[in-house]
């Protein structure tokens, strides 16, 4: 960074600090403690500098540790910790739908077009990924964790589609899974999708005057600070925090 004007350094550092801060807050919500989230964030940052080559030649493919492997591992871990089979099914469905919608939007509709060439151009394509993932996951899974997994797996699925398309078309190409490390679209999507699910969820709860409790399983209710929930559950079973 030496040699850059002060303004540029402040701009970059500030942006990264805020981004890392948000990332840590998001990881915090994925069955991880504060410290584990911080450690994982550090691992992602360091891992951003490590690329594992997978293939050379016409299709150059590689996977980045910070932007590909760790987020993938985290998504699998979150899936593994999921409460029910239904939840896992929904989350995987959300991932597939996310990949499908983004592919339809960006490849099929936009093929041969500049990104700004879309009739409803409000956003750079960069921002479609997390928005689609966040909204899809929220509609399908109604949870932040589903949003995270759907975004990560959805965007990684796109890489797989890319690889298959390149393999079928015979042209030169690059599939660098998570190649931009912590700034890669996959991780960025995961983080923004969680925040989005949170915004939608919180906003909706606020509008309807509190979360729905009717007919919900106890394991979910115990996380809430509702008067009714407190009465229902025995004292010793209530955990103060859910990890």
């Amino acid at each position: 960074m030496a040699g850059y004007p002060l303004g540029v350094i402040v701009l970059v550092v500030l942006f990264l600090l805020i981004y890392f801060g948000l990332a840590q807050r998001v990881l915090d919500r994925l069955y991880l403690s504060d410290r584990a989230a911080l450690a994982l964030l550090a691992a992602i940052i360091v891992g951003s500098f490590i690329n594992i080559p997978l293939s050379r030649g016409r299709i150059v493919s590689s996977i980045n540790v910070g932007g590909g492997l760790i987020p993938l591992g985290l998504a699998v871990y979150v899936l593994y910790r999921c409460g029910t089979r239904k939840e896992i099914g929904r989350t995987l469905l959300a991932a597939a739908v996310t990949a499908g919608v983004i592919f339809a939007l960006n490849s099929w509709l936009m093929r041969g077009r500049e990104p700004w060439d879309f009739a409803m151009n409000v956003l750079d394509p960069l921002y479609y990924y997390p928005l689609v993932a966040g909204v899809t996951a929220y509609l399908v899974g109604r949870s932040r964790r589903a949003a995270f997994v759907a975004a990560i797996l959805g965007v990684l699925l796109l890489d797989l589609i890319d690889y298959l398309m390149l393999a079928a078309s015979g042209i030169r190409g690059t599939v660098a899974v998570g190649g931009a490390g912590i700034l890669d679209v996959s991780l960025l999507s995961g983080i923004v999708a969680v925040l989005l699910a949170e915004f939608i969820g919180e906003g909706r709860e606020r509008l309807q005057g509190g979360p729905e409790v009717e007919g919900r399983p106890r394991s979910l209710l115990e996380g809430l600070r509702l008067k009714t929930a407190k009465k229902v559950l025995p004292e010793e079973k209530r955990s103060d925090r859910d990890e």
Partner: protein
């Protein structure tokens, strides 16, 4: 079971809606032929929108600029004569622009707080004397030379990049020219090239260029002839949908100023358009459009060479002791933007999630007291020097077994941050 059915039905409805809208849209823009898109054969990335373009005119109908992209309201551009325009209305392929002022396009720039003596030694010494170049659309080609406007993975644009890189090297600049292919040419191209760009940035370049060409059919519009030799003009593109927009715009203006001084007519203008173009990754990243597909590649290569001549001066890299790359007002505008966005976004979320100003404030207090303590261990909570037991509130929080959970309203706030 009923609920499950409802979920399934709504999901399939959603899918059907998405599919239907994509089909309709596709049919509208390309004529009815949606099916081939499902076969891999239909995914031939050669399809392009060259030929269709937008003409930017002022209120009197004079042509200001042309570009192979629909232009959007509120896009701005700085014309070759440094007048700045804003697009106020779109009528089909016409974009009506209003002049909003004249830009101060000078190389020195309004010197900001950092004095030259701060920036110069760093530039001369330890600064990375490195420029990184990549191509998001590796298929872009020049018809008169390459025979077609698109060669997936092997476009003529790569050779234009080579000339740009070669010229920079001959001027003593280290260059990293990445020729990774980002095929197919679609909206995901920028996702793919983002990885290339991020990898390049890890090498610490002073500037990052994404080299493209335009798709306007009129080759003369991009052609400049000096002393019997023609070269193609260059447009600098700044994406306005990211936090680095002001910094990158100032960078573009400096390049234009330097080029205007050395090679008048080389810069077609600066376009500030919707999009991000990976410029969120660096405050010294630009997209260059070198000529158009109907220019010969040689013209484009000559244009690229001329542009390369002024880059070392702008970056303060080169002899003869060019003015150092001083900071710009734009850098600080970017900083202000990031801070503002963070504060506004954070406040909005806080108020929304806690349900009112009072609760938001309480939670903020909670955050500063408990959250950081949790993260940094208990040291911060203890009075310095005493090393004694934490007192009052802190003990309550640390030693949860002492106080029943109901009597700790503050912990609910903590839990709020971590609930599912």
């Amino acid at each position: 079971m009923n609920k499950r059915a409802a979920v399934l039905v709504s999901l399939s409805l959603l899918l059907a809606a998405i599919l239907a809208s994509t089909l309709t849209y596709r049919a509208r823009i390309t004529g009815w032929n949606p099916l081939p898109a499902f076969s891999l054969g239909g995914l031939d990335p050669k399809e392009h929108t060259v030929g269709t373009y937008t003409t930017l005119v002022d209120e009197e109908g004079r042509v200001l600029d042309k570009m192979a992209r629909p232009v959007y309201k509120d896009d701005e551009f700085i014309a070759a004569d440094n007048y700045r325009y804003r697009v106020t209305e779109i009528r089909g392929d016409l974009a009506i622009c209003t002049r909003i002022g004249r830009e101060d396009v000078v190389l020195e720039g309004p010197s900001f707080s950092e004095a030259p003596d701060m920036a110069t030694p760093a530039q001369a010494g330890g600064a990375k004397n490195l420029v990184a170049i990549y191509h998001t659309h590796t298929d872009e080609s020049y018809i008169p030379t390459d025979g077609t406007e698109s060669i997936p993975g092997q476009g003529g644009i790569l050779k234009v990049g080579q000339v740009f890189a070669g010229k920079l090297r001959s001027l003593g600049v280290n260059v990293y020219h990445d020729v990774s292919a980002h095929e197919p040419h679609d909206n995901n191209s920028y996702k793919r090239s983002r990885r290339t760009a991020a990898q390049l940035l890890q090498k610490g370049p002073a500037a990052l260029f994404d080299i493209h060409r335009d798709g306007v059919p009129d080759s003369d519009f991009y052609r400049q002839v000096v002393a019997g030799e023609s070269f193609s003009k260059i447009r600098l593109v700044v994406g306005r949908e990211n936090q680095n927009m002001n910094a990158n715009l100032d960078f573009a203006k400096k390049i234009k100023a330097a080029a205007d001084a050395k090679h008048p007519g080389l810069i077609r203008g600066i376009f500030i358009g919707a999009g991000s173009y990976n410029q969120d990754l660096s405050p010294r990243a630009l997209l260059l459009e070198i000529g158009t597909h109907t220019n010969s590649r040689e013209e484009a290569q000559r244009g690229a060479g001329l542009l390369a001549e002024v880059i070392p001066t702008v970056l303060g890299i080169s002899p003869p002791a060019g003015p150092a790359a001083a900071g710009t007002v734009g850098d600080w505008k970017g900083v202000a933007f990031v801070v503002l966005a963070f504060i506004l976004g954070g406040l909005a979320f806080l108020v929304l999630s806690s349900g009112g100003w009072d609760k938001a404030l309480a939670r903020l207090r909670q955050y500063t007291s408990v959250e950081w303590m949790n993260l940094l261990g208990q040291g911060r909570a203890r009075p310095r020097g005493s090393g004694g037991r934490p007192d009052g509130n802190t003990r309550k929080v640390l030693d949860k077994s002492i106080v029943p959970a109901e009597k700790l309203p503050s912990n609910d706030e903590r839990k709020d941050w971590q609930k599912d």
